[in-house]
Every structure is written in structure tokens, then in C-alpha cells.
């Protein structure tokens, strides 16, 4: 029985490390938006998740939700005072003209899924 316990402990510890690595130490690639327009697919998260856009220029961000999860049915760009419903399989265009440089988070209505807008 002791071997069972040792085995379970080792598997458990490995699993915990794996969860930490898998969810908490990921690094998202930053996608640079050059043509002032980007489609973000909403499906289990946002792809691309991190976009970089230029300061002072208007960028169109088209959110297209393909995931029926209730949580994702709204997108909130708090720093830009935008909260929009995302009807399933429809393109919802949001125009932003950033006036400040920096990192601005956006998320789903409940703050579970996150993305980032880098203004450079």
C-alpha cells in the first residue's frame, strides 16, 4: 500500500507542476497590427490574444464569437469604456483610437478570459 501512496503523491505533485506550467506560465505571442484592422476569433479565448496597435490611430477590432459559452458572450475593454454583446457567429466591430501608450487588458464579461492590447 505504501508504494500506492508514493506513486499517487509523485503523480499528484507532477500534475500540480504541470497545471502550473500549462496555465500560469504561458507566454502569448504579440501580433502587430499594421493595416488598422484585425479579426479576433472568440473561441475558448481570444485569437490573437495579444495585439499591438499604434498610438493615436484608429484600429478596427472585429470580434467574431464562435464559442457558445455564456461567459464569452460579452467583451469588455474597460480602459476604453467599451462593453459589447457578442452574438454567436457575428462580426462585432469595435473601433478604438488609443490616446496613451501602455498595456490595456480586455476580458470577457466575467473577467475569466483575458487578452491584451499593447499601444506603442
Amino acid at each position: 500500500m505504501v508504494t500506492d501512496k508514493v506513486l499517487i503523491t509523485i503523480i499528484g505533485a507532477t500534475l500540480i507542476l504541470f497545471i502550473y506550467w500549462f496555465f500560469l506560465s504561458k507566454k502569448e505571442k504579440e501580433i502587430k497590427i499594421l493595416n488598422n484592422e484585425v479579426d479576433i476569433i472568440v473561441n475558448g479565448g481570444y485569437s490573437p490574444e495579444v495585439i499591438s496597435i499604434p498610438l493615436g490611430k484608429t484600429t478596427k477590432i472585429n470580434f467574431i464569437r464562435k464559442d457558445s459559452t455564456e461567459c464569452l458572450s460579452e467583451v469588455v475593454l474597460g480602459d476604453f469604456k467599451i462593453k459589447r454583446e457578442l452574438p454567436l457567429n457575428q462580426k462585432v466591430m469595435i473601433e478604438i483610437t488609443p490616446k496613451k501608450k501602455g498595456e490595456f487588458e480586455y476580458s470577457c464579461g466575467m473577467g475569466m478570459y483575458h487578452g491584451k492590447i499593447m499601444v506603442k
Binding site: 501512496k5 502550473y20 500560469l24 473561441n43 459559452t69 469604456k81
Partner: protein, 755 residues
């Protein structure tokens, strides 16, 4: 009959009603289009066409040919379609919840100790239980998998991940026990499935989501009401004829007729007629407002009694209602600083719960009582199910939605969530005097005849006639003057229906007053300096003068042929609600300060009337900002209340800038809160609303965090060593479902709060 399609899509580049015509014509000319309707306010076109002949491209190029851009690819669903879709989703959710709970309860009946003795044999059969559990797991519970799998691809985990893993664990274990009972028997465990756990959890969580979604729809009611205020048509007068047109076609300068009971289509100025207008939906003021020629009217408000015509001054996105809708939508989309902590925690929350669930399994397996495997399994499932990140995510935004909406219904327009949050912390409030605490318009307050100053006894009647004579003479003199004090005197004479005399040789003496000949008599009206100059004896009215001046009034003396006839005092009057508003603010523990360009004595007089103890007098308009900063330097969190135009820099530098009653323009950049009405009660209401909203948010966060902090350890078995208490996963799911519903419901309670 051909099959026609209707499509609504956005149009870019429109700025006037003529654009509407141009685009409509262009679209109508396309072969196959039967109807085209363009709306300027919403910047959309709705086209009915034959899909065989017309495609998106033809529509887009027709619009492009006349110089605009059509977003044909972004079809807009109407409000109704969205509503129908939402209701369909809700119904679907409810069906799934009820079917799951029904099947789950059959399994509970057949498996729960004590209860199972009353159940028919068939329900006790593990295979039957499995058959009942399959649709719950893979039909009703499909949405959890559908959300989990794409999320995992993004290396993200959410609420659904926890439920999918938790219920799948219970289901798979039960399936193994049912099909291969000898496997667990070899481990010394009685082969007992837990289909009741997997099904009831799914049923309860879906039921919780159903109630949560229904409650969440209630949080956006205020904005829907505002949108519903927008009128659809307007009755324009053109060449002497009345034509009904869609409100989107009304242009600036159009003359519109409004009859009793009708909605006013756009903002404008009354040209003819008078009426009383119900503006409660915009200003929160329940008493209808009387309007006549020259008064401003607001689109979306309701005309009560009279018929009038007015000239449209603001249309489309510039109307007050459109600006309010924009402001409220933006505020509801903004984030309160208090939410940052919740956001940060919820982004780490689910992975941490997953790690805790694994740790729970290991600890119970290694150190738990026999059968350790079962304890480990059920407790780790309980941990996965009890964790509720949704409650944390919903705590702040739902309260902000309801709070901002409630404000808008009461004429309190809040710029963003941060302003709403800061307003509850203020401990000093600075009121600009003129136009904020007072009406900002001088009126005649006292008329004193010479006979009153000389202790002569006289009848009430002769006294009144003496006062009327003074007012009549003074008003006759001032008729030619443009001074604001003169206007007050002339207005008063008009109210008293006095007939003015003809004045010859009128002369204004700057800094002194006016003079003129009435008949053969020389009359003068002015201040002390003028009396001294004309050598008029005023010694016997000295005490009256001092008294009136100490009350903050401007006193003018009237003399005829070198002899004093009487005094007229003029003052800006305090708003009716000023005193009670100041008192209420002081009761909240807020220091009330008055700022004014007036001299100390006038300022003191007004301050005394409304109960303000601290005054900042003789402050020039450009010095107000510095005064705000000085008070902030005392460590105070300052709100500044002003008119939003002259006080813009001071409003911007205050922690919370509150702009009051600014006509039809609500888009004031400098103000954090704009009050539609001029009533000072609204200032108290705004601060009260902020306090109540923050209280709701705190209670929500306390509940959401407290719930997770207390119940996750309980689910892990923290109470077991002391009290032998463990959390059944079924109860865990009930608690979880209840927690997010209770947070949303608590936010909805804000609607009932009195402000």
C-alpha cells in the same frame, strides 16, 4: 411571389439628413431592391431586396458610388431578433436543467440510503442509472465540454473546466464501477456508482445559470428604457402642410408641431405656443415643466397640455437623449478600480483550484480513512464543484450596471465607474455660488418707501401704493438700461402690472446709476456715490441700508428733485432646495464649502441662509482651480459642483466634478457626474447613489470571496479532523449555483434603493 430578404447594415460617413436621401435613392435604384430605408440616428440602412438579383457586393458598391461606406458584412440584428435569440437560449437552458434534475432525482431515489428502500427495483439497477445519467452528462452537460476544449487549446481554464472535470470524474468512476465492478472490489472498495452526483450537479448548475442569466437581463433594463424613449416620427411643417417623417430625417432648422400627449421628437426651441412638459424620464424631476416661446425642449420627453411648434436645434447623435445613451453605455462598459483585485484573482483562480483538487486527492489518498480512494475522489470532486469564480467576476460589473442605470433614470449621468467609486469617498464639497446655490438671476427682494423709514404710521394700503410708486418710477428710469439689476426691476414692475412713464434725457452714469426726466421732475436711481454726487440726504436710511447690505443685497436709492423717495434691494436668490441639500450633505459628514467671486459680506449672507460655514469669497474665475487644489492639500477628497462651462478647470481638478443643469448639452468632458436638473437635491442623490452602489459591490465581493475562502477548505475536508464534517458534492453544487445568483440578485436590489 418572389422571396424577398431584409437586411440591416451600418453606413459610414453620414452627417446630415440629405445624406439619408442620397443613399436611399442610390439603394432604391439598384435592380431588385424593393425598399430602402436609411436611419441617420443609428447610422444604418435597412434594405428589402430579391436575393436572386442583389448581393452584398451590389449594395456596397451602390452606397460607395455616392461617396459613403456600407458595412454589408456586418449585418445588424434588430433589438427584437436579439431578444428572441436570448429567450430561446434561456428556454433551452431551463429545459436542460429541468430534465437533468428530473433524471437526477430518479437516480437519487434509487441510490440514496434510506430513500432507496421505497424505490422500484428498476431504479436500483446500476445499468439503468447509467442510462439515465448519459443524456445528462453528454447532452445537458455538453456545453461544459464545448467551453472546456477550446479553452484548453488556449491554455486557459474557466468555470466550465472545473465542472467538466468534476462531473466527468464522478461519471467515469461510476461507469467503471458499473461495467467492471471487480476492478474496485480488488481494491477493497464496495462497487457503488455515483451517477446521482454527476447528474444532480449538472442539473443544479444549469438551473443556477438560468436564474443568473435571467437576473442579468434585469441589470441592463435602464439603458433599454432610455433607448425606448427615442421617438419614431416627427410632424414637420413644410409649405404650410404637416408631414409625418421618420425622426432620422429631421434636419436642423425644421419646424415641428407637437400636440398634447405626444413625444417630442428632437431637441429644439419653442417658436409658438406654450405647454407643460413631462421631463421626468430625462431629469428625474417628477413635476412637469412649463415652457413657452424661447424655451428649450428635449427630444424623448412628453408634451402634456398644449400644442406648440418648435425649431429643431439638435438632431441624430447630437440630441440630449442620444448623448445620454452614449454616456450611460460607456459608463456601464468602464471598470471600477475596486474590480482590479477581483480581476487579478479570477485570472489565477481556476488553475489554483485545479491544483488544490489534486492536492486534496493526494492528501486523502495518503492520510484518509478507509476507503481512502473514495474519500479522495469525492472530496476532490467537491473542491472542483464548490469553487465559484463567476461570483467574483459578476460582483462589480452587475452593481455598476444597475447603479449607473439607476442614476440615469434620476437625471444623474455618471461618466464612468471610477467616478461612481470616487464619489462615495468625498469628504468636502465645494459649491459655486452663482447659478448653483442660487438661481443666478437677480430679483427685487425689497422695496422700502421713505415713509417706512421715518416711523410715520400709515395704512397698509397707502404703504403699498407708496411702494408701487417707487417701483414704477425706478422701472421707468431703468427701462433704457441694460444692466442686470435694471432687468430685475423692470421684470418686477411687469409682474406687478405697473404702467411705466416716459423718460426723457436718460443717462447711465457708470459705477453710479441712472438719471432722467419724468415729466418736469429729475429722477435719479443709484448707489451711495450717486446720492453723494447729487447731494441727496440719506442719513435717516442708514440702518436700513446696512441691514439690507448685510443680507447680501445690492441696494439702490431713488430720489426725485434732490429728495430721497425710497430704496430698492436686488439680490440673487437661493434655490429652494439649497438649504436642505446642504444640511443632508453635512449629515453625511461632508464639509460644505462655498466659492464665489462676490465680496465677503454678500458671500456670508448667502452662506448663512443655506447653512454653509466655510466660504471662499472674492475668488476670480481662474482662481477656482487653485482653491480646489488647496482644499485637496488639506487631505480632503473634494467634489466641486458648478455649471460645467465657467467652472470647467475647477471641475476637472476636483476628485469628482459635478456639473449642474446645462441645458441640452450633457457631453461635458470636465465633469465626472452631470446632473440634468438644476435641483440641488440631485447632488445629494448622486453621492447617496455612489455610497449605496459601493456598499452593494463590497457586499458582493465579501460574499464572493468569503464564499470561496470558507467553502473550498471545507470541501477539501478541513473540518473532518475536528467534527467529521465533509461536503457532499451535491451540496457543493447547490451552494455554487446559489452564490452567483445571489450576487446578481443583490445588485438588482440597488434598483429599489431610494436616492
Amino acid at each position: 411571389m418572389r422571396n424577398l430578404t431584409k437586411k440591416t447594415f451600418p453606413i459610414k460617413g453620414m452627417h446630415c439628413a440629405s445624406c439619408v436621401r442620397v443613399i436611399e435613392n442610390a439603394l432604391s435604384k439598384v435592380e431588385g431592391v424593393t425598399m430602402a430605408n436609411v436611419n441617420l440616428a443609428s447610422e444604418t440602412a435597412t434594405v428589402t431586396f430579391d436575393p436572386q438579383k442583389v448581393n452584398d457586393q451590389t449594395l456596397a458598391s451602390a452606397v460607395a458610388n455616392v461617396g459613403y461606406k456600407a458595412g454589408v458584412e456586418e449585418e445588424i440584428k434588430t433589438e427584437d431578433e436579439d431578444k428572441i435569440q436570448k429567450q430561446k437560449e434561456l428556454k433551452n437552458l431551463r429545459t436542460k436543467a429541468l430534465v437533468s434534475l428530473f433524471l437526477g432525482s430518479l437516480i437519487v431515489w434509487g441510490s440514496f440510503p434510506g430513500l432507496m428502500n421505497t424505490a422500484p427495483e428498476i431504479l436500483k439497477n446500476f445499468y439503468v442509472q447509467m442510462i439515465l445519467a448519459i443524456p445528462v452528462q453528454f447532452w445537458a452537460g455538453l456545453q461544459f465540454y464545448k467551453a472546456t476544449i477550446p479553452a484548453l487549446r488556449h491554455r486557459t481554464a474557466n468555470m466550465d473546466t472545473l465542472i467538466a472535470i468534476g462531473t466527468s470524474t464522478a461519471f467515469l468512476y461510476s461507469a467503471v464501477v458499473t461495467v467492471f465492478p471487480q476492478l474496485v472490489m480488488e481494491l477493497g472498495i464496495e462497487p457503488m456508482p455515483y451517477f446521482d452526483v454527476s447528474t444532480v450537479i449538472i442539473g443544479l448548475i444549469l438551473l443556477g445559470r438560468y436564474f443568473e442569466a435571467r437576473a442579468k437581463m434585469g441589470t441592463s433594463e435602464a439603458i433599454k428604457k432610455l433607448i425606448g424613449l427615442q421617438p419614431k416620427t416627427a410632424r414637420i411643417l413644410k409649405n404650410g402642410k404637416e408631414i409625418d417623417v421618420p425622426v432620422s430625417e429631421v434636419a436642423i432648422g425644421n419646424v415641428i408641431r407637437v400636440r398634447p400627449g405626444e413625444k417630442i421628437p428632437v431637441d429644439g426651441e419653442i417658436l409658438e405656443g406654450e405647454s407643460s412638459i413631462d421631463e421626468s424620464m430625462i431629469s428625474g424631476e417628477s413635476i412637469p415643466v412649463d415652457k413657452s416661446k424661447g424655451s428649450l425642449v428635449i427630444g424623448g420627453t412628453i408634451n402634456k397640455t398644449g400644442t406648440f411648434t418648435y425649431k429643431a436645434t439638435k438632431v441624430g447623435a447630437d440630441t440630449m437623449l442620444a448623448q445620454i445613451i452614449k454616456l450611460v453605455t460607456e459608463a456601464q462598459g468602464s471598470k471600477a478600480p475596486i474590480q482590479r483585485v477581483a480581476d487579478l484573482i479570477s485570472s489565477y483562480f481556476v488553475p489554483i483550484v485545479l491544483m488544490l483538487a489534486v492536492a486534496t486527492f493526494v492528501i486523502w489518498f495518503d492520510f484518509g480513512p478507509v476507503p481512502a480512494f473514495l474519500f479522495a475522489l469525492l472530496n476532490s470532486v467537491a473542491v472542483l464543484i464548490i469553487a465559484c469564480p463567476c461570483a467574483m467576476g459578476l460582483a462589480t460589473p452587475t452593481a455598476i450596471m444597475v447603479g449607473v442605470g439607476k442614476g440615469a433614470e434620476n437625471g444623474i449621468l455618471i461618466k464612468d465607474a471610477e467616478s461612481l467609486e470616487t464619489a462615495h469617498k468625498i469628504n468636502a464639497i465645494i459649491f459655486d455660488k452663482t447659478g448653483t446655490l442660487t438661481y443666478g438671476k437677480p430679483v427685487v427682494t425689497d422695496v422700502i418707501a421713505r415713509s417706512e423709514t421715518t416711523k410715520q404710521s400709515q395704512s397698509e394700503r397707502s404703504l403699498r401704493s407708496a411702494r408701487d410708486d417707487i417701483l414704477q418710477l425706478a422701472a421707468s428710469l431703468e427701462k433704457g438700461s441694460e444692466h442686470s439689476l435694471a432687468e430685475a426691476i423692470v421684470n418686477k414692475a411687469e409682474v406687478e402690472k405697473l404702467v411705466l412713464s416716459k423718460v426723457e434725457g436718460f443717462k447711465a452714469i457708470p459705477g453710479h446709476g441712472v438719471e432722467g426726466m419724468i415729466g418736469k421732475n429729475k429722477a435719479i436711481l443709484g448707489n451711495r456715490k450717486l446720492m453723494e454726487k447729487e447731494k441727496v440726504d440719506i442719513t435717516h436710511v442708514g440702518s436700513h441700508l446696512a441691514k439690507l447690505e448685510s443680507e447680501g443685497k445690492t441696494v439702490m436709492m431713488l430720489a426725485q428733485n434732490g429728495k430721497l423717495l425710497g430704496l430698492i434691494a436686488v439680490a440673487d436668490t437661493v434655490k429652494d432646495t439649497a438649504k436642505s441639500a446642504v444640511q443632508n450633505l453635512q449629515k453625511m459628514g461632508i464639509e460644505v464649502i462655498m466659492i464665489t467671486g462676490d465680496n465677503e459680506r454678500t458671500a456670508q449672507a448667502i452662506a448663512k441662509l443655506v447653512g454653509i460655514k466655510r466660504i471662499l469669497a472674492e475668488v476670480l474665475p481662474d482662481g477656482k482651480e487653485a482653491e480646489v487644489k488647496k482644499i485637496q492639500a488639506e487631505g480632503k477628497i473634494v467634489a466641486m459642483v458648478g455649471d460645467g462651462i465657467n467652472d470647467a478647470p475647477a471641475l476637472a481638478s476636483a476628485n469628482v466634478g459635478i456639473a449642474m443643469g446645462t441645458g441640452t448639452d450633457v457631453a461635458i468632458e470636465a465633469a465626472d457626474i452631470t446632473l440634468v436638473s438644476k435641483d440641488l437635491k440631485a447632488v445629494v442623490s448622486a453621492i447617496l447613489l455612489s455610497k449605496k452602489t459601493m456598499k452593494t459591490i463590497r457586499l458582493n465581493l465579501f460574499w464572493a470571496f468569503g464564499y470561496n475562502i470558507i467553502l473550498i477548505p471545507v470541501a477539501m475536508g478541513a473540518l473532518y479532523p475536528f467534527f467529521h464534517i465533509l461536503l457532499n458534492p451535491i451540496f457543493a453544487s447547490a451552494a455554487m449555483a446559489l452564490s452567483s445568483v445571489s450576487v446578481v440578485s443583490n445588485s438588482l436590489l440597488l434598483k429599489r434603493v431610494k436616492i
